[in-house]
Amino acid sequence: MDASSSAVSYSPQEKAIASGSYIGNSEESACHARFQNMFRRCFKNMVPYVDVKRAKYFTESMKETEGQPLVLRYALAMKHLAEKLPVYIEEGQLLVGRVGTDKGRYGLLYPEIIGDIMGEGLDAAKNNLSAPLHIDDDDLRFVKENIVPYWQDKAFHKKLIQSVPVEMRKFTYATADGSVPRPYVGEQASMNGCLQWVPDYEKIIRKGAAAIRAEAEVRIAALDRNNARDMWEKQFFLKAMMTICDAIILWARRHAEQARRLAAVEKDPVRRAELETIAENCSRVPELPAGTFHQAMQSMWFVQSFVRLERCVGFMLGNGRLDQYLYPYYKADREAGRLTDDQVMELLDCLWLQEAQFVNLPISAQSATQHEGYAHWEAVTVGGQTRDGQDATNELSYLILRSRRECPLQQPDLAARIHARSPEAFLWAVAETVKVGQGFPKIYNDEEIIPLHLAKGAPLLDIMDYCASGCTEIRMPNVDSYTSPCTQTNCTAAVETTLFNGRLKSFGEELFSVETGDPCSFRTWEEFWGAFRTQLQFMMRYALFLQYQIQQMRGQTYAAPLEDALHDKAFAACMDLDTPLSIPGTLDLGFVECIGFATAVDSLAAVKQFVFDEKVLIMRELLDALECNFEGKEHIRRMLRSGHCYGNNDPYADSIGRDIEATCQEILSRNFEHTGVHLDLRMVSITANIPFGRVLAASPNGRLAGMPVSDGSSASQGMDVNGPTAVLLSNFHTKNWASTARAARLLNIKFTPGAVEGDEGTRRLVSFFRAFCDLKLWHVQFNVINQKTLLAAQKDPQKYRNLMVRVAGYSAYFVELSTALQNDIISRNAHNEFGAAR
C-alpha cells in the first residue's frame, strides 16, 4: 500500500492538460519538435474545411463515362482526380499525398451517396454548433448548382429509400424522403460508402503498382477471345486495374515533381534535403517496391489516402498491422545504420498528423447523430501473432505504443492484439499506454477472434494475420469481401413494442410492428418472454431484409478498383468487391447491430422480478408508470432500479442476456444458410445509443423517456456496482457460446488514475488483461479519468454510481462519500489543474 497518496492522482493526460504541455516528457519530446510545430499549424483552426474538389472532378468524370462498366468508370474517375487535384506538400511534412486542402482539417464530399440531400445537409452542417464545418459560399453554390442536380436521382441514398417497400419505410425512416432516420432498424449504407476496410498495404509496398499493372496486362492478353463473358466482364475489370495503377502512379509522380520544384527554391539546407528525399520517394513508390522504411510508409500512406478519393470509407480505413509489414524495412534500415528510432518517431508523428487531419463530414442526419465529435476509426494494429503462430511483437510494436503515449491526437486509433503468450513486457507497455488516459489502445483478444473465425470458415494463416478494422471489427485483407455497411437494431425498442402490443409510443397508437397480445393478459413470465421473442425476431428479420436490399443496390452503384487491385481473391476472380455475389475463396463477414442490449436485459429482468416473480407490481401499474414517464411515480422507478442488472455477474439478469443473444442468433444463422453471408450479432453502438434512446418511451429498468440506451455490451449507465471483474464476467455469461453467429462486442471500462497507480497498478491492469484474455471476450477499452467526471458525478450520483476513486490509501465509490469530502477531493483536483500543487 502506498500510504503517501493521500490525494487523488492524475493520469499523465490530465497532468499534461493541467500544465498546458504535451504528454511526452521533455527528454522524450525532443524528437517530437517537428510534430509540435505542425500540430499548432494544422489544428489552429479547429473547424474542418469542406473540400469540394473531389466531388467536382469525380462528377465530371462520371458524366463522361455513363453507360460503361461501373468498375472502369470508377477507375477512370480516379485517374481524372489524379490528374486534376491540386498537389500539396505541407511545411515540415515528411509524408505527402493528402487529398484535400492544406488549410487544416478537411473532409471530402461523396455525391454518389448523398448527392440528393447534400445541399440541405451542408446548410445544416454549417450551423451545427457541436460539430461545425467550414465551406466557402462559392463552393456551396457550386455544389448546389453543378453537383447536386446530376446526382439527384442517382445517389445511393435516394435509390435505397425508393427501393424499400413503402409499408416498411417507417421502420427506418421517419420522413418520406428519408432525410430523418427512425432508429428502430437503422441503416448506415446511406451515410458510409463501405463497411470499415483495410487494404493489403503489404502488397503495394513489396510488389509496387507497376507489377500489379503488368499482371493485369498479361492476364488481358491471355483472355480467351472466344469467351464473350470473359471478354466483357474480365477484360473491363482488368483494364480498370491497369487504369487505377496508372492513376496512383501519376498521383505520386506529381508529388515528386512538386517536391523537386520546392527543393529548388528552398533556402534551408535541412528542409531542402528532406524535400529531395520526398521527391526520390515519390518517384519510386508506390510504383515500385519500397527500398527504405520511409518509402514503405510513403507507399502505404499514398494508398490509404487515395482510397479516400475512391469512396467514403476514409474515416474507417484501417492502417492494418503497421508493426508487421513495416518491420522488414525498419530492421534493414536500422542494421544498415540508415535509420534511428527518433526518426521512426518523427515519421509516425507525420503519419498520425496526416490521418488526424482527415475528417468524416457529418452531413446526413444519421452521421451527425451517430458519429459525434468528427469520429473516425482508422485503427493501427500492433502485437498479436504471426501467420505461423509465433508472438508477433517487435521493436516497432513498442515504438508505436510509445508514440501514441506521447502524441495528443485523437486519431488514429490504436489496437493491441493480445494472446495467451503475449510477453509480459508488451502487456506492460499496453497498460502504461492505457494509463495515460487517452483511451488508447483498445485491446483485441486473439483467443476469441481466431477460433471463432476458424469456425466461420476463415483460412488459418489469414486469421492468424487479422488486423483491427473500424471500432471493434477485424479484417483479413485478402479474405474478407463484405463491403456493405450494416444495419442496426434497437433491442430496447423490442421491449417497448412488447409492452404496448406492437406499438411504439413515439409512432402513435397505430400498429407499428406486430401484435403479440396485451401484456396485462399475460399470466406468466414465459408468456411475456414469448411475446418479446416474437417482437425481437420480427425486428431481426426486417433488418436482414433491408441488409439484403442494400447489398443488391450497392452492386449497382459502387465499385472500388483500388481495393480490388489490392485484394488477391477479387483480383483473381475479376470481381469487384461491391458485387452482391460471393467472390470465390472469400468470406462475407458482416453483422447486425444490437443497440441497447443492457437496457433491454435490465428491463426484462425488472418485469420478470417485480411483475411475475415477486408480484409487487401489476403490469397495468408498470405500463401507466412508463406512459407518464414515471411522473409522480418516483417510488416505482426507484424500485425498478433496485432490481437485477446486467454487469454485476448476476445470473438472474445475465441468463436473460444470453437468451436475447440466442434468440437473435436463431434468425441470423438461418439467414446465413440462405445467403452465405455471416450477419452475426454485434454489440457496438458507438454513439448511436443516444439517438436510439431518444425515440423511446421510459423503460422498465427505470430509464426515463428519451434518455440514451446502454452502449455496446457495457452495463446500463451506472448500474454495474460490483466492480470491473463483475463486468467482464457478465459479458462472459451473456455470450451464447453454443453459436458462432456472434460478432464484436464493445466493452468500455472506466478506471480512475488512482485505481491503476504506480507499478502495482500497472501489474494489476496487466492481470486484468490476462483474465480478459482467459475469458475469451472480444474487445475491451479503458477510460482512466477523474476531474470533470467527479463534478459531473456529484451532480448526478445515480448515473455515476460505479465510479471508483482512490481517496486516501484505499479505493471507494465516489458517490458513497459525503458531499463535504467529495468537495474536498474536487477542490484538490482543481488546485492541481491550475498547476499549483505537487
Binding site: M1, A726, L729, S767, D774, S818, T819, L821
Partner: protein, 304 residues
Amino acid sequence: MTDEKTSGLIFNVQKFSVHDGEGIRTLVFFKGCPLRCRWCSNPESQNAVPELSYSVQDCLHCGTCAKVCTRGAIRFTDGTPVVQRQLCRPEPGCLCTRTCPGGALGIYGKTVTAGELLRQLLEDQVFYVRSGGGVTLGGGEPLHQPDFALAVLRLARRARLMTNIETCGQTSVETMLSAAALLDTMFMDIKCMDPDKHRAWTGVSNERILENFVRVREAFPRLPITIRTPVIPGFNDNAGDIEAIARFVRRFSGVRHELLPYHRYGEQKYLRIGRRPGMGEASLPEETFATLREVAEKLHDDQL
C-alpha cells in the same frame, strides 16, 4: 456442523479490492469487533448484530417506514424518521427497507453460510489466478466469529484460493494459531505500545494482541506478516509512539511495517447508524504523516 453450513454475519463482499494484499482480491467484511477504536472508519463493522442504516440525503420524508415497521421501531416526528435502535431488529424481510421509496434505508449485516460465501469468492477465480490475488478476510474483526472465519478459511484453502486476513489481533491464542495455519499472508494492526493508552482509545489493552503476534511468528516463521499502524491525531501521531512500535516490529526479521494515515471517510457512516463520529474535527496533516513515516522507515532500514 460442516464448514459449508457454518454461518456468520458479514456486511459486504467487495470485489476487485486492490489494497488488501497481493493482486486482485475479494475482501469480505465481517461484522463485529472486540475493539472500539475512536477513529474507526468502518463504524458499521463494530456491533455483531445487523443494524439499520438511514441516509438523510435520500430520504423523501414520506413516513412510510414508520407505518410499516411491525416493531414500532421507527418514530416519524417533524417529518423525519427516528430509528429506535433498542427496538429495531433488522432482517432481510423488513418492510421499511423494502418499501422505502427513496432507497434511504438499508441493512448493514447479512447472515451467510461459509458455503454460500465460498461460491461468491470463487466467482473471481480467473482474476486471482492471473494476478496472484485471492481472498482477504477483513471487517470488523474476522476472528471475532472464530468458527465461521475458520470455516471460510478451510473452504478457501480446499478450493486452492490464496488467503489473507486483516486482524486486530484481539482473540484467543488458539483461534489466532488456527487461523494462521490456514493463511498465505497476514495483516495485523499494532496501534500503540502503551497498554493504558491503548485501552483508553480502543477499549482494550494491547497485551493479548502483542502476545498473539509473537506466538504466530514463533509457530509460523515463514508466514509473511505485515504490521499496520494507523496514525491517529492525538493518539499516536508522535515520534515516540511510532518509534516504539517500529522498534518492536524490527525485532522480527522479515516482518513488514506500514503506516496508514488517518482519514475521515467513515464519518457519513456514523450518521447512518445513528452515531456521532468519534474524532470530531481532528485531522492529520500530510507533513506530520510524512515525517512519521520517515521515522519508521529509518528504523526499518537500520535493521537491514
